[in-house]
């Protein structure tokens, strides 16, 4: 299914005595999204986590890196450390707030990069067709033929731990599926009558790509990419959990889960806390993606 853009979709019943308002596709989608309670709640949760992460130093009085042997693994509900402390005596709540910086970045950045690269490759392959399509899509197929976690672990494992290497491996994981979506939508649009008509009136290739293809491809790609973010958050934290992401003493949810795992018998509640953050963010993102899909009424 192809989303129609530019056309006027009059949603809801028009008010009495007023002319029905015609809105653009994006305005309609935004209107539906802003009336979706689930999307609003999840969006607010993500916004709170994001803002807390950005303004972390103003929110928490504790230093996320200051260790204290005397205050190791304090239980949740401690008077000074509300969510307890970790295995090195650092305030857990503080580290969870700071951890949002790295974890959210690692969830969004690879998907944004993959959307740009994959979208470009897919549109080029779909629009040009022929040998170029063959070349691009067969190479994508090869990377698509790896289980996603395995590919991420393999590349990160070989390149070595680190933020940049994780970013590279995750981008490589998410590019092929996005390229596929972009290619299939572009191929459909290329054969539409109105593109034929545009070409007949002498529109240039660039004009067709920017005027028709891009506006139609954006919706499906955005929806697909949004559903990838929750996967990216889980896999990226997974990489740090394996010790392949950012290195200690950085605060990152997956890494915190990894180091706290040693204390699972001593302080089980503290040990599982960072995972709650990963779960909440990934769940919110998944629900937002569902709402986005419903609001744009696109099947990918």
């Amino acid at each position: 299914m192809v989303a129609t853009t530019g056309g006027s979709i009059t949603s809801d019943a028009p008010l009495k005595g007023r002319r029905p308002v015609s809105r653009s596709f994006w305005a309609t989608a935004w209107r539906r999204l802003s009336q979706d309670k689930v999307a609003l709640v999840c969006g607010s949760i993500l916004l709170i986590i994001l803002l807390a992460a950005i303004f972390a130093p103003f929110i928490t009085p504790h230093d996320p890196y200051r260790t204290s042997m005397a205050r190791r693994l304090l239980p949740i509900g401690d008077a000074r450390h509300w969510l307890g402390t970790d295995e090195l005596g650092r305030d857990l709540l503080t580290r969870l707030i700071y951890g949002g910086r790295m974890s959210l970045f690692m969830g969004f950045a690879p998907v944004v990069l993959a959307t740009l690269i994959g979208g470009f490759l897919g549109i080029v392959a779909g629009y040009c067709g022929g040998a170029i399509n063959m070349l691009i899509m067969r190479v994508t197929d090869v990377f698509y033929a790896f289980p996603s976690v395995l590919l991420a672990v393999a590349i990160s494992g070989v390149l070595g731990a680190g933020l940049v290497n994780s970013l590279v491996s995750l981008t490589l994981v998410f590019t092929p599926p996005i390229a596929r979506v972009a290619e299939s939508v572009t191929t459909q649009i290329r054969n539409q009558d109105y593109v034929e008509a545009a070409r007949a009136t002498g529109a240039s290739g660039w004009r067709i790509v920017f005027g028709h293809v891009l506006s139609n491809v954006t919706g499906p790609i955005l929806i697909y990419a949004s559903s990838m973010i929750s996967v990216a958050i889980v896999i990226a934290s997974g990489l740090s959990f394996l010790g392949l992401g950012v290195s200690p003493p950085n605060a990152e949810w997956g890494l915190m889960l990894n180091t706290l795992r040693q204390s699972i018998y001593v302080a089980p509640m503290n040990a599982i806390l960072p995972g709650v953050m990963i779960f909440i963010t990934s769940m919110s993102m998944n629900l937002i993606s569902d709402s986005l899909r419903a609001s744009m009424d696109v099947k990918v």
Partner: protein
Amino acid sequence: MLLYLLRRILYTLPIAIGVSMVCFALIHLAPGDPLSAVIPEGASPEVIAQIKTAYGFDQPLPIQYLNWIWRAVQGDFGMSIMTRRPVLSEVGPAVVNTMILAVAAVTLGFGLGVGLGIAAGYTAGSPIDRVVTAISVSGVSVPHYWLGMVLIVIFAVNLGVLPAMGMGAQGSATFALDWVSLRHLILPAIAMSVIPAGIIARSVRGTVIEVLKQDYVQTLHAKGLPGRRVFVHVVKNAAPTVLAIMGLQLAQLLGGSILVETVFSWPGTGFLLNTAIFTRDLPILQGTILVLAMFFVAINLMVDLLQSVLDPRIKRA
């Protein structure tokens, strides 16, 4: 039909070759000379030269690839740097262990997903449907390695009823069909089953709703067929899609088991990969990834073939 099957198999070949090229390239992506990873510290120049020829590093890359793939096809994946044993003898048992875990997880996820999905599909819009939808979204969102830790906290630390680690008594690495081994399998299998369960529940729900809307189902109802006979028709039409998803999930789990295996110290491919990464045992790393990726390609192919046999509409397309 036969032609379609043949074409589909032929189409897989270039992908399999591409996958093997990526696996081959991995070792050259590694920072530094791949040789430095294989040569033991303080080796004499003769030993270095010997290893160089053994690995064929003195030859151009395409030749190296051909040599490597030729040996790999014959089952020779080189030697592990750490254990000095053939890679295949390390990867083989690990693949079997991972397979046991993945099959258990998919079976569990399939049962749960189909049950929930049918319940939700038949009661679309009801509270039951909402609960199932919530469960399936949680299933696909939850970091399963974290769920593994939560299960350990509940069942091993607090209740003390199930083992938290390993595969059998005294760190055994072979699976026996006895109570001890099964007890070790329960927690990791549950942790790994949530993703397939969520995905299958979601797609079964969608398919059931779709099928129930079809005209022929209305006709069956209209001519007075009892609900349970109509159900048979629903199942028949939903089966190909659901089976395909199950196959793909099995394939994903085979490759994605590394996180859960690490949490539960399950001696499978994930655990092997993890060790290989941190000891820089590149031959093991390469061999494991190649074997897992080939499994993935093969399962995908089988799912496709099976689906086209089950659903005659596909081959016409």
